[in-house]
Symmetry: C2
Subunit: 711 residues, 2 copies
Amino acid sequence: MSSQRASVRAILDQAKTEGRSSLRPDESRILCDAYGIPLPRQRLVRTVAELSEAVGEIGFPLVVKIASDDILHKTEANGVVVGIKTLAEASEAFEQVTRNALAYKADARIEGVLVQQMATAGSELIVGALTDPSFGKVVAFGLGGILVEVFNDVSFRLAPATQEEALSMLSSIKGAEILNGTRGAAPVDRQAVAQIIVAVSHAVSDFPEIRELDLNPVFAWSQGAMAADVRVLLDFTTPRERYRPSQQEILQAMNRIMRPDAVAVIGASPEDGKIGNSVMKNLINGGYQGRIYPIHPKAEEILGRKAYKSVKEVPDPIDVAVFAIPAPLVAGALRECGEKHIPGAVLIPSGFAETGNFELQEEIVKIGREYNVRLMGPNIYGFYYTPKNLCATFCTPYDVKGHAALSSQSGGVGMAIVGFSRTTKMGVSAIVGLGNKSDLDEDDLLTFFEQDPDTHVIAMHVEDLKDGRAFAEVASRVSKKKPVIVLKAGRTAMGARAARSHTAALAGNDRIYDDVLRQCGVVRAYALKDMLELARCLPILPTPQGENVLIITGAGGSGVLLSDACVDNGLKLMTMPPDLDAAFRKFIPPFGAAGNPVDITGGEPPTTYRNTIALGLEDARVHALVLGYWHTIITPPMVFANLLAEVVEEFRLKGIRKPIVASLVGDVEVEQACDYLFDRGIPAFPYTTELPLLVLGAKYRWARAAGLVGS
Amino acid sequence: MSSQRASVRAILDQAKTEGRSSLRPDESRILCDAYGIPLPRQRLVRTVAELSEAVGEIGFPLVVKIASDDILHKTEANGVVVGIKTLAEASEAFEQVTRNALAYKADARIEGVLVQQMATAGSELIVGALTDPSFGKVVAFGLGGILVEVFNDVSFRLAPATQEEALSMLSSIKGAEILNGTRGAAPVDRQAVAQIIVAVSHAVSDFPEIRELDLNPVFAWSQGAMAADVRVLLDFTTPRERYRPSQQEILQAMNRIMRPDAVAVIGASPEDGKIGNSVMKNLINGGYQGRIYPIHPKAEEILGRKAYKSVKEVPDPIDVAVFAIPAPLVAGALRECGEKHIPGAVLIPSGFAETGNFELQEEIVKIGREYNVRLMGPNIYGFYYTPKNLCATFCTPYDVKGHAALSSQSGGVGMAIVGFSRTTKMGVSAIVGLGNKSDLDEDDLLTFFEQDPDTHVIAMHVEDLKDGRAFAEVASRVSKKKPVIVLKAGRTAMGARAARSHTAALAGNDRIYDDVLRQCGVVRAYALKDMLELARCLPILPTPQGENVLIITGAGGSGVLLSDACVDNGLKLMTMPPDLDAAFRKFIPPFGAAGNPVDITGGEPPTTYRNTIALGLEDARVHALVLGYWHTIITPPMVFANLLAEVVEEFRLKGIRKPIVASLVGDVEVEQACDYLFDRGIPAFPYTTELPLLVLGAKYRWARAAGLVGS
């Protein structure tokens, strides 16, 4: 630790000893100095002679403040004079604040008068850091004054932040343009502001007892920036650490849990309608090929499988135990799992934290740690892992194999995943219920899915992140390889209140979620159906190689709506090069419109669609295609679907794979055409011009964050 | 005209004579005075003696400006001094600006020096008016300075605006809070600001040659407001008037066109695949019971109907002629329709303005006016009117009768309407293609649908409004009776560019559309699918009697997402009264959550859903119900659908009708349950927690604007 850091350590220890929850101004200054955060020049003076000297050092304009530990609210005591421009004014202020201070509090001990450089003009900004219940230390940046108060225009990053991340915060506020200089003002010194952000983020990361650090306002000029006021709040309580095994430990356990060779069902039942009966049936009828051990206090066998009184009686190793017994019996059975060295317990029962029974949940967590049994749930539907034909759940079995792994914190959302997947033929590798997340959570799943060859995209319904910091670390790594989609429920104050009442989870500030998820390369979905559509389509969509999106449409009206949707989803309609424009014009009628959208007009035969699509695929300057199909007699829906699938396959064989999405408008036959296209790797949607672009936009957002899109 | 108005008339005439496109400052002041818009006190002075007198009248602080018609850019000429606080400073400024002016332009004719009151402190606002290509005179209000430039935080209303409308503008900007006083500032004088808005709106309405009027900045204090600068731009060209028949004339024509007793098909063809053949088949197979006259140059009969060479040969009256002939033949045939006194022509052919052939379009418009034939199109698919089994279109026939009337400017969107309607069993009264809107447009349709007993909701896809002013008037009236939904395509700059290239329509500023549509009580849809869902659901949803929305859910997770969606759609979750809370608790398990959402938990039998829903319907304090169903073995989807339909019917018989929407999550059986519920008047949706609230929110938005919701 440098000597400067040591000085911070010393003032924090002092504050702790004195039982304080904030730093004094002089201490705050030491902290800022240690981290190179520029503050106004200042000097404490006791005499008019000293004042004169200080004024010479600091320069005008000045602020004069009474310095007394006995006067906390200096303004209230008329102990502050601002805007001092001459030595005479300074002398007058010196006497005035001293007089006022004593009038305010006759027995106040006066240390002297603080003479301080006064920041003028420049842009007024705010830099701060806070401790978020999910994400821990987070650094914030915003425009000062009215803008932060009324427009709530702030951006957040995990602390510590790099200079690059800090610079990105300046660009990501809504009022970013103001920093470039408006109304003739000079642009602010971005590097200097970013340095302050970085410094703040390091200070709170180095010293976790700093609960909040506020620089408000920060003044920034075209050269340099300075914090005009500092506030530091402290909290010396040690936050409870969540269990965080190593990546290797997670994989060891998760590989056995998700791909087990042997499953025990604790509470297996021969009786129809019982959860323990449904789980048994799903395992058997789902086609799971591993060993299945029903556990039952009396039965000899259940559904043709030999039953055991306890997992401890099972002669062979067991990888995962599915619990289908009432909550009060869970602890005992879990202990037996521990003694049997079973690495995972799937806790379907409810009656834990979600019903207010926190003690019972704490008890099972303790047992889990004691025996190193990882817990999924409690209060879940179980999980599906299709590569193993494993349906470890009491819900209906699911068997459409594919590459989307989904998780949900809520059972209702889990069932929506099952139904949607089945009806849209979304291929799934896994569906996992996380429920109360007493132990296993999104980080563990991400770590497993990261290396699971059957998973190409991960979609998660999240009400709260128990350890947002850990999630962010893992998600940042995983999202470089596979798209990670998050539906954060409880976005709004009302929604968050509902989330609390049902999971006792503290929903974090949604704006922090938004920024941090983006920082981690996570694609956020804002609606349940959106999350499901993205999980369905992202794995089949090739990664774009550049930003040039081209719309080809048979319906001009669709072209307009598709263009709107491009903008809404942050996509860039390519500027059509003249030679390419000319090439398109060869294929379309003279009254059609080239440019972008390319409007081939409605009455065209299949060849026109075919030729223009082929041209879009062929030309290397085009990176993604958006197709607007219009149902006509001359090119019926299935004819369009066939020609599109053919031309795409033709180019695939030549090694050309570009993302293509399609909007099909027409009579009901377009639905069949969309199904046909989806089965052939082309996301196509009937009666909507928005969904195709939502999907393409999400693929771009992911690919950009993962650094995969060229320019 | 008052004498003040007469003075404005005089300066405008003067400006016109002089060929100017703007007013001089002194003229602008006359305009402001005429409308009671407060400006800074000022006096033109020529001597230091006069100056001294002027200073006495006006008070400090002051601005001193050179007054010379020869110097347009006073600041550039160093001809302005601001912030003058003493008479000495004023005298110095007087000499200085005169000196600078002559240095800048030696031969400048100096009228004197303008001494002006300087507005200080207060809030900086902008009030203005402009001439929108669609809506004509529109008044604008926003926060001044950086806020309007960077955040584009402006609100618009049609001019002239009432004081009440002007006040609503102050509340509808994003930064509205700033006007209430932030950071200790006093709130602005809302009445005074609104008066300025009203005055500006009247000025531009009274004098259409005022193209733009800008008061920027306007300073507002806790008492009073004042415009510090005025800019007035003029345009003396007379805008081309669109044909605007009276309401009675529209109804006379539209009733014959939409509900004809006799239809002629010009270009009827016996040949499969021809448009004139499809139209004939659709008329016949669609079940139209009126007379059908094929028009063909040679054929004796077509599809069993006697054919005629011209409409003029038909012995009986004809109400509408459907054109299925090439564009160049349209004018001739249209003239014959005129001579036959046919009130309406449905112009399917393309090849007019949309392909750049403006002359041909103008020609047919002229013929239409000459003979008083109203034109639908050209460049359309035709129209459907199901109460008459009328499919006057070349697309597929459509026959699911119901109460939604839809129109589209684009054929692609029209086909999406047909397909979506068929697949979702959306009941439709009419689907109308408007295409190029050479004559008939949304106003005519609204006027017809307003009094059409078979139409309960109107949904329109709009790329541009040819006469937004007329639309606004009609929509304001109609939306009081029936919901009017508008999907405005070309919302974004890119989308608008695409719209122009395909319809040659100038897409107006989207923000103006947004505000004006809201002002007219129109519900705006932002996505094609949303418009379709709203058209489908709004007619079957009862109108809410108050703002209290209650969520009852079997899945806590759905409750959270439904709460988020409530907020997103501007709905108010009712605060649960303690007695009602207690009543709900009787029905739900002890670990369930009352409050709002009422979480009945997942494992409950049908009776729990039934009892809680009945309670929500019964209690008069609850105005709307949002249901979250979770698929379980104990309450399967169709059991839930049955009990819900039953309990709703039970209450309907008692005269209790509240809007209910439902989100069903579960396996695919929930889809059947949703269909069952929709058929029984309950909008229910699978796999989504957002769509139910979009629908309920739209019903509320409409009902609030129509003044139908109590508080």
